[in-house]
């Protein structure tokens, strides 16, 4: 795949505690030279990113309850409403991982339904189950819960997790084409991208997309 073909499978962005407005501007200035699918920022930079993205076809992605998912449903919904007000096109929301680890899928399910309801089709809900800390049973049960709640996009990892091709294969094998599988977490090389796409990933998330593309054919 050449750089353009790769970029058309990649979602990028800049997230993190120490990111300044200048960091967002300069990261975006280079990112906009490629046809990336989407651009993610923390909520504090959502308005700024909306302005910047006007001149591109990239979707604006808002990070919700990011990165730990430890925010209450009320706060998650407040953040989704904010994302809607800024006209973001998709959210990346970390799930209530403590509920999953406690086997409390009822809570996971009711949170998801409420989120989908507030999103109301105006914004794509992509959730992060942080596969790295889940058992195989938890991964499958979580995906099942997502589908029942009407969420059909799953972003494998966030914040320090390393995306495993086996996870992508697992979800593809069990759920077929039901999900958009968005591989994320520690993806730094073209070899990783290729392996994850081969495993069935729909999109690749990486903040270092530009470094990555430099290693590809022009």
């Amino acid at each position: 795949m050449n750089r353009i073909e790769l970029a058309e499978r990649i979602k990028t962005g800049i997230l993190g505690i120490d990111v300044t407005e200048q960091d967002v501007r300069s990261h975006f200035a280079t990112a906009k030279t490629y046809p990336f699918i989407a651009y993610a920022v923390d909520l504090s930079y959502l308005r700024l990113a909306k302005e910047l993205l006007r001149e591109t076809d990239m979707l604006l992605t808002a990070a919700v309850s990011y990165p730990f998912g430890g925010m209450t449903l009320a706060t998650k919904l407040d953040q989704i409403r904010f994302a809607l007000s800024v006209e973001a096109e998709e959210i990346n929301a970390t799930l209530n991982l403590n509920a999953i680890k406690s086997g409390d899928y009822d809570t996971v399910s009711s949170e998801l339904r409420a989120m989908v309801e507030v999103a109301n089709g105006a914004i794509d809900v992509i959730v992060i189950p942080q596969f790295e800390i889940l058992t195989t049973f938890e991964k499958l049960k979580t995906c099942e819960t997502l589908l029942e709640a009407g969420v059909c996009a799953v972003k494998t990892d966030g914040h320090g997790g390393l995306c495993q091709p086996e996870d992508v294969r697992l979800v593809r094998r069990v759920f077929g084409d039901a999900f958009s599988i968005e591989a994320s977490g520690g993806i730094r090389t073209i070899a990783q991208v290729q392996e994850l796409l081969d495993a069935g990933a729909s999109f690749i998330h990486t903040s270092t997309a530009l470094d990555l593309l430099r290693g590809a054919d022009a």
């Binding site: 505690i17 923390d42 909520l43 990011y66």
Partner: protein, 233 residues
Amino acid sequence: MTDSRRVVHLKQIDHTELRTLATYDDIRRLCFEAVHCGFGAVALHPIHCERAAEHLRGSGVGIVAVVGFSTGAFSIEGKAFEARDAIERGATEIDFVINVGALRGGRHQLVLEEMRALREAAQGHTVKAILETNVLTDEEKRLACELAIDTGLDYVETSAGFASGGATVEDVRLMKEIAGDAVKVKASGGIRDAQTALAMIEVGASRLGTTAGVQIAQTLASMSNDLDREETK
């Protein structure tokens, strides 16, 4: 040797559980340990506030909710909403991560406005501003402490504990130097033993955020027994 009488009071410890893989049982255990050891508070994500409030009813142990955790990169209104919501669910204190990117980017007015909004949202409950000192210059640390004093916050706090590194003795000393008696200092992140806990108190920390509270309490108890034995000799 009266030095070890410069003690860590167990009430100064915020018994902390912020891991994503913590289960409801872990939260129950955390609360039980806090009551049993006599810690001042538990510190946890807002999703656990109601559960902790149930476990801790009548115990006098406080509930610290972390807000804007851990990036601090949320809107001011969003963080204020989260703080009010946490208090409604039983939180007695708010530890919020400041907008670190705004501070580093020189947008000091925004940092100040955010502190004011959180002060107001907390409705008189204790508010601690987490600065994430590891990614700040000394000048930025100084400025953040001054803004916290201007706002009348209760504490400045070193770290969320998830970015690289946690509290250092040098940072706590620096923060105390600026803070004086106007605002207290909480050291958090990387405090895993009694020696480190004592070192933080020694340079001026009033509160400690740690996941190792139980071990620290045990070490302190045995140190204090040794001292008693020395004195009876």
